[in-house]
């Protein structure tokens, strides 16, 4: 069996069973698969404690009749009980407000005052800021320390340089456009070519590794008064504590987007082969349509 990560793939063809993912990649993947769910679930519960996001240094959603101090959140999830005048039945109207956009989310978001995100999305499943913080602030370490270790290992074994850094040929506008078209048509490489990440895949992984996770960590640390005393530049970098909370939420949303696309592609490309390659490391190369031709030689469709 060939070891293909960072190695020569000449002579391999569709149908071959090859080694694809290193042990470091597999371990980090499954650890994160669990960790990210605890972080998102507990994070949504923490959001429920104050379901308003602002830009700047402060934001308390202080508002009462006769005070002109409303602090304009840019995002809110509200819940308003409405009583039917005839049946006296109470329905809770949930609304997601983003800027001037009001989206009715009744029954999904804003289920009640402390369930902006409903119980099935949060950790724990019923309101507890304290328990959510215990989960969040423990698994933050499980997210951060292995991320640092993975980066170091992957620089040292040249995984980042070999497998994730885009090649010069991939970076031409024509090649990027072709990759976008192939993704839109759900057309993926066959044979030995399937071993290499394509450009959009590399971009997605690099964005998570080097943009989303670090921004997540830095914005999270900016919420910590102990950290902003130690590293005051965090507040400057994030544009204030209220902004940092917004940035933290936006990064979470982007990570959720990544997970959705990632899972969808695993299913489209072949869940058995993909999941096996992430558990045992073994990957069966997809067969070429015409065995004698490589994907590059295939006539354009």
């Amino acid at each position: 069996m060939a070891d293909t990560e960072g190695h020569d793939t000449a002579g391999l063809k569709g149908g071959d069973l090859v080694k694809r993912h290193r042990i470091s990649t597999r371990l980090w993947h499954w650890l994160n698969a669990f960790t990210i769910f605890t972080m998102i679930g507990s994070g949504l519960m923490i959001f429920n404690a104050h379901p308003h996001l602002y830009w700047g240094n402060y934001g308390t959603n202080y508002w009462s009749v006769g005070t002109p101090f409303y602090e304009h959140p840019w995002l809110e999830i509200t819940s308003h009980p409405v009583t039917d005048p005839v049946t006296h039945k109470v329905t809770v109207i949930g609304t997601l407000i983003i800027g001037s956009l009001h989206i009715n989310t009744t029954g999904v978001l804003g289920v009640s005052r402390f369930e902006s995100f409903p119980g099935w999305m949060t950790l724990p499943g019923s309101y507890s800021l304290a328990i959510a913080r215990r989960w969040h602030l423990f698994f933050a370490w499980v997210l951060v320390l292995p991320w640092v270790a993975y980066l170091l290992v992957s620089l040292f074994n040249r995984h980042i340089q070999h497998d994730l850094a885009p090649t010069r040929a991939e970076l031409t506008p024509k090649a990027i456009w072709q990759d976008i078209i192939d993704h839109a048509k759900l057309k993926f490489p066959k044979g030995a070519a399937a071993l290499h990440h394509n450009f959009l895949q590399k971009l997605a992984y690099l964005s998570v590794l080097f943009a989303l996770i670090p921004t997540m960590i830095l914005s999270g640390l900016t919420l910590s008064p102990g950290m902003t005393a130690a590293w005051p530049w965090l507040l400057w970098l994030m544009g204030g504590r209220a902004s940092a909370r917004s940035v933290h939420f936006i990064c979470m949303s982007l990570i959720v987007g990544f997970i959705v696309v990632h899972l969808a592609l695993v299913i489209v490309v072949g869940p058995y082969n993909e999941i096996r390659s992430m558990i045992t490391g073994k990957f069966r190369l997809p067969r070429e349509k015409t065995p004698t031709l490589t994907p590059a030689q295939e006539p354009a469709e």
Partner: protein
Amino acid sequence: MTVSLNVTRRSLVAGATTGAGLLLSGCDKLAQSPAFMGMLDTGEKLTYRVQRSISDRAALAPEFSASQMSPHFRTNGNTMPSSAEYAKHMTENFANWKLVVDGLVTNPLNLSLADLQSMPKRTQITSHNCVEGWTAIGKWTGVPLGMLLKRANLRPQAKYIVFHCADSFGAAPYYESIDLIDGFHPQTILAWGLNDAMLPVGNGAPLRLRVERQLGYKQAKYVMRVEAVDTLANIGHGKGGLWEDLINYEWYAGI
């Protein structure tokens, strides 16, 4: 092709939703195990040690300019203690109110509000960082706690400073505690002024703690007594604060 993709999308959404739901409810089961919660609690100790080791003892919380202040400093939690004793102090404008500093000290103190106001004061515009996620910036004026502790002269066994308050939740009186590093931190003050006025009742009159490197629930309001202790085990349920005792908030609220 279109049909199979639709099925895939639908089953994906259903699968992911069920999967997430099952995973999270499984996590809830885990959280009922004391051993598992004990593991989660190591996060707090790790964070405390790491934050203490990377930051200078006297590292200051960021201070802001007057133009960066919240338009209104909101109130939260208890906004009026319910005891008859407090009501009496309030009607007397705290003229007969006294702060007690005692416990493991050689020179217990008994100070009126006028005594505290005549002492050297510190004014700081800082950010109040609520555990719930909101932030308000206000201007606090008060007496540095370290100055009072030096005057009271801590015994060598003293490890923590406890703040006993006039307000309560149900039958449980509010209290909070900090270590000596925060106790002697230059920005740790017992504030009697907010935004250039006397501290309002809603914000903790006559005296509230400002311990700027920690979250809002550590900023005890209505402080009546400052006690130096060697252990937190004998106060309340022993976790160092009312919210720590009642709903398991972390004692170290630096994050």
